[in-house]
């Protein structure tokens, strides 16, 4: 018998369809957050999910595409920079898979993932929000109050932004990560292209 493996075009064409699906799911995640009033942003979970299912490139490009499309339709041009944040999300997810920080049944394995998604990822978003968006307060009462409080007590613009972003990124990214792990655990094996 001649042995044949699935050839490159198959993986490539799957990616072509998977990437827009991730982008659309990110968008729809945002809508679902509005619908359920869940306390998260909800528009990076599909990037994590895509990375968990189809690997780093598909997840990163899918997340990036989502932000590109939003930037060119609703959010305005500079919002494309958030696409790089989505790439960072995919990268962190990828690291977590590689390191095995992704086992829901052994919650302590998630701790390093939480550190990456919390304090470390937020350094990046803080840079973006100051350099591209001026670093004002977020337009939600609680983070804005935190922002004002830190600014008042320390007078440090960067720190105020950082702490404010922590207050939104931590719940969002932690919950999104758990959600995407939960979903992956229910996805039939044959869809999962990433080798663990």
């Amino acid at each position: 018998m001649t042995e044949r493996e699935a050839t490159a075009p198959a993986a490539r064409i799957l990616a072509v369809v998977m990437i827009p699906m991730i982008a659309a799911l990110n968008y729809v995640g945002g809508v679902l957050v509005e619908l359920t009033k869940a306390p998260i942003w909800g528009d990076t979970w599909a990037t994590m999910l895509g990375t968990l299912i189809s690997g780093l490139w598909v997840g990163a490009v899918g997340g990036f595409l989502y932000n590109i499309i939003m930037a060119f339709t609703v959010w305005g041009l500079p919002a494309w920079v958030w696409g790089t944040a989505n790439i960072v999300v995919a990268l962190i997810t990828w690291i977590c898979i590689r390191m095995g920080w992704d086992d829901l049944r052994r919650p302590w394995t998630l701790i390093p993932a939480f550190i990456l998604f919390g304090p470390i990822y937020t350094v990046y978003t803080t840079m973006v929000s100051i350099l591209i968006f001026g670093g004002g307060p977020l337009w939600k009462p609680l983070p804005a109050a935190i922002y004002a409080a830190v600014l008042k007590s320390t007078g440090n613009f960067w720190l105020a932004n950082y702490v404010q972003n922590l207050s939104t990124e931590i719940p969002d990214k932690w919950i999104s990560y758990i959600i995407s792990l939960l979903i992956v655990s229910r996805v039939p094996r044959r869809f999962i292209l990433v080798r663990r």
């Binding site: 619908l35 359920t36 339709t73 609703v74 959010w75 305005g76 004002g136």
Partner: protein, 281 residues
């Protein structure tokens, strides 16, 4: 569903016929890029407000002013509401006192630097958001595809952009179905935050699973229809530059020259003469 989401959704039923709609997508697209970049080149709230006015005037000509204002009201207005008061008082680089506000026996000094910062940045974002909407809402999906072809982007990318835009309404329809089903099974939206996350899960898991099933089938269907054929794909849509488009381009070039002159003369803040663009440290 929120206003911003609705703008995208309504796109399906939105067709208009106006001077702006009839422009070729290329001048509209470059105008969007051009004015967004300008909003960042200058740090001058009067000039930025002028940019915004120009966009809003074009939006009015296109008959979509109300929709754009609605979006701005939701995603930019709160920006002013939070940023101006907080930064006027607490911006670390505040030095020019405007006046002192007396509330409830407290004396709040308001400063010019923080005030302008809180005014300028949301204005910039307003320019970017409204110019993006102006382009997107007046461009037919077919024109958008033709534009991407003309920009010589790889077909895979064109396909991915187009299919994302088409997938979104399909997925939203599906959500409606799942949402109704879960409501009838006792999902309550007025719940505590933890419960709301469970609600989110109850919707997102079935949606994702059914979406993944579709990915494979669609990939097979695409492949069966020659998607991977190594040839230059045919664009099924035509776009052509007409006199009006050339006029539009010429106006943009003229304004660019004028603004370049102003920049060389006065720097990034030609009208209100602000002192610094980015904060140091």
């Amino acid at each position: 569903m929120g206003v911003v989401r609705r703008v995208l959704l309504d796109k399906r039923v939105l067709t208009g016929d106006s001077i702006i709609h009839r422009l070729d997508p290329r001048p509209k697209f470059f105008f969007f890029l051009w004015i967004s970049v300008l909003a960042y080149v200058f740090y001058d709230y009067v000039l930025t407000a002028l940019f915004l006015l120009v966009i809003l005037a074009l939006a009015a000509a296109a008959g979509i002013l109300r929709r754009i204002l609605l979006v701005l009201a939701v995603i930019v207005l709160p920006g002013f509401a939070f940023a101006i008061p907080i930064l006027s008082v607490l911006f670390p680089w505040n030095e020019t006192l405007m006046f002192k506000l007396h509330i409830l026996g407290f004396e709040l000094p308001l400063y010019y630097e923080g005030f302008t910062w809180g005014l300028s940045w949301p204005l910039k974002i307003a320019v970017c958001v409204s110019s993006a909407l102006l382009f997107y809402l007046t461009t037919e999906p077919g024109e958008l595809i033709a534009l991407l072809f003309k920009l010589r982007l790889p077909y895979k990318f064109i396909y991915m952009v187009t299919i994302t835009l088409q997938l979104i309404p399909l997925l939203l329809d599906e959500i409606q179905t799942i949402y109704q089903a879960q409501l009838s099974r006792g999902l309550r939206t007025k719940a505590n935050p933890v419960k709301r996350i469970w609600n989110f899960l109850a919707l997102v898991i079935p949606l994702t699973l059914s979406s993944l099933m579709k990915v494979q089938t669609r990939a097979i269907a695409l492949e069966s229809r020659g998607f991977s054929a190594p040839v230059r794909k045919t664009c099924l849509y035509d776009i052509r530059l007409r006199a009006g488009d050339h006029l539009f381009f010429s106006a943009m070039i003229a304004v660019t020259l004028l603004l370049a002159y102003l920049y060389l003369l006065y720097g990034f803040s030609p009208i209100v003469h602000l002192k610094f663009y980015y904060v140091a440290g």
